[in-house]
């Protein structure tokens, strides 16, 4: 029986209060299209990490470290990880 590779999804988003010019522009476009119920859009990034099937480390802890050191800039961004 082959082992399934392990996947982790990392969500990166701007911290509250940090200006998101892309989000503002998208919100304005939505309003123009008639989606005027949307009061705010915050943009972010999603990364899908695929680990070796035989990975022995704690995948969640490893992913959080990857987010902290590389995928997110802690000055302006927060992150969340999700094992799937």
């Amino acid at each position: 029986m082959s082992q399934k590779s392990k996947k982790v999804v990392c969500h990166i988003s701007l911290k509250d209060g940090v200006l998101d010019p892309q989000g503002v522009t998208i919100r304005n476009a939505l309003a123009q299209l008639g989606f005027d119920d949307v009061v705010e859009v915050r943009s972010g990034k999603v990364f899908e990490l695929t680990f070796k099937p035989d990975v022995t480390n704690d995948v969640r802890a490893k992913s959080e470290e990857i987010c902290r050191r590389v995928l997110a800039n802690p000055v302006i961004e927060t992150f969340g990880v999700e094992e799937s």
């Binding site: 940090v18 200006l19 892309q22 000055v75």
Partner: protein, 234 residues
């Protein structure tokens, strides 16, 4: 005096910086490849502008982990002079050698034009040939130059007089209209507390001879030379 200019994949102002040092200052200069990890023997290291690693992930985020940066960080922590221009500034922020981060320009546009900068601190190795209040005409060329840090931390930058240049009007007034990208406190260039690491978004290497429309950037490079000649370490 010997300068080193780091070339990352995607750097595009490395030759401009090299030529200013060689032809305008007539000092020794060498390229340092991003895979090299020996930065000994240099009196100043330049991290040039460009789009290192295609600006993937975030500007400067991948370059920060390239082999050469480990050595540059060590060099800076030992008091070595490091100047980061545009993408070089972004790399310094990502590496933690300078505080804060860059957000997208508030206009969302790539902006490429001459802007005016006011010198606010001339007691650094990078500005000692200027006077406080001098207005320099130097071009910017960036999409992510909107300097951001928490309000209290920006106040600390001000308290330690780490803001070296601010965007201003041609007559030196620091106004919101003169701020091309939305930077906190019109910040265009900052140094660290110990003054040996400096980053700026505008490109002094593109404004170091009159033929290019302005030679105002030369004073920054001349300051580095004057500082090194004085023999004082940062």
């Amino acid at each position: 005096m010997r300068f080193g200019v780091v070339t990352f994949p995607g750097s595009n102002c490395d030759y401009d910086s090299y030529m200013v040092i060689k032809d305008q200052l007539r000092k020794d200069v060498e390229f340092i490849w991003h895979k090299d990890s020996d930065v000994s023997g240099f009196d100043c290291i330049i991290l040039p502008g460009g789009f290192s690693y295609g600006d993937y992930l975030r500007t400067g985020a991948i370059a920060r982990y390239s082999p050469v940066m480990g050595s540059v960080i060590e060099y800076a922590n030992n008091g070595g002079l490091v100047i980061g221009i545009c993408n070089g500034f972004q790399i310094l922020l990502e590496s933690g050698l300078l505080p804060g981060a860059m957000l997208r320009n508030r206009s969302l546009q790539f902006i490429c034009k001459h802007v005016y900068l006011r010198c606010d601190n001339n007691e650094t190795p990078f500005s000692n040939r200027l006077n406080v209040g001098d207005v320099l005409k130097i071009p910017i060329a960036h999409t992510d130059g909107n300097y951001y840090w928490y309000q209290a931390d920006v106040q600390e930058l001000e308290r330690y007089r780490q803001v070296v240049f601010r965007y201003c009007t041609p007559t030196g007034e620091v106004t919101d209209k003169a701020n091309p990208n939305g930077s906190a406190n019109n910040i265009a260039g900052i140094c660290n507390k110990t003054r040996n690491v400096f980053g700026m978004m505008p490109h002094p290497e593109r404004a170091s001879e009159a033929l290019l429309g302005s030679a105002d950037g030369l004073g920054i490079f001349q300051s580095i030379v004057a500082y090194a000649a004085s023999g004082v370490t940062a």
